[in-house]
Symmetry: C2
Subunit: 190 residues, 2 copies
């Protein structure tokens, strides 16, 4: 009886629609606008249905964040051109990272600011969560002995640049200057 397979498929599609709706609303009106009631409206089911897919609201944010990690990893990998020098590769990744953060602020928020219940640095950590780190490690490796620690530091610098600029703490006009500075730092001693 294939009807049960259809049911499973429909269930998965409904879950997708929840995540897509959450993302869409967040990008248009911000995360506070992503309420269970509004999502229920959007998918044309009652609110309790959402809780048959996700344990709570945070998990919905987490599902969107997980998508974001996948996309960020793809973008960072694409920023590594084979023809580039090691230094150009680092700069390309740095620029791509910040572009991502500023182009998708709601997504970036889900990934790094909001509670999501996602588990990092564990055995059950989903692959997309590791992939972005991997892309950064690839370009940092030529400049470092301890790649993991150097990548962590590089990543932290990028995250800090993204966050402080997003919150209006540092001057947007000097973004490229700061990237240049970061590049000098990496290629010099990292």
């Amino acid at each position: 009886m294939g009807s049960s397979e259809r049911k499973i498929r429909e269930r998965e599609e409904r879950e997708r629609r929840i995540v897509v709706a959450a993302r869409t609303i967040a990008e248009r009106d911000g995360w506070p606008a992503v309420t269970i009631r509004r999502l229920a409206d959007e998918i044309e089911y009652s609110q309790p249905v959402l809780y048959s897919h996700f344990g709570n609201r945070d998990e919905i944010v987490g599902a969107v964040a997980l998508e974001g990690f996948g996309e960020l990893a793809t973008i960072l990998r694409a920023a590594i051109r084979p023809s580039s020098t090691p230094k150009e590769s680092v700069e390309g990744v740095a620029t791509a990272y910040l572009d991502f953060a500023f182009a998708r602020p709601a997504m970036y928020e889900a990934m790094f600011i909001l509670p999501t219940g996602l588990r990092f640095a564990r055995s059950d950590t989903p692959a997309p969560l590791r992939a972005g780190f991997g892309a950064m490690a690839t370009v940092i490796a030529p400049f470092s002995q301890d790649v993991d620690t150097a990548t962590e530091t590089f990543w932290a610098a990028l995250h800090g640049l993204a966050e402080l600029e997003r919150h209006g703490r540092i001057r947007p006009a000097f973004r490229s200057h700061r990237i240049t500075l970061l590049m000098q730092m990496v290629s010099g001693q990292l």
Copy 2:
């Protein structure tokens, strides 16, 4: 008639009590536990009284954050020992910054994560908001031409290190390694 002065003074004291209560609750139970009702209980007034002091909840968080910026500035300045070398000074400030972030996570959240309505990089920006930046600029200056941009980048790196570690994204055990790396970067090329 001096009674009006007394009234003003009592009002200011009540406002202080609100801010102190907010900070105390946040540090003990987290910011979500800082509700208007609980603050009203704490100061033994009804809820609307709070709105005669602050426009909304965010402004209360902002008042706590402002205190934090003052304290951070003091701590960073104290980390600059006259007998230190320029490099040691940078390391001292970096360590002091991260110690602050991890010792007072709720305060750090108020300062850098939560909405507060505080205005940065403006003509009416309160002095404490500039003071911390000033302390960082002082130790960065010997290593840089463009002090402001270099300080922004340094600050961003520290903020990123604090946030990623606070969220369990990078390995706590390697904190000092990352600071060492950051130091090499600063003293080398910044």
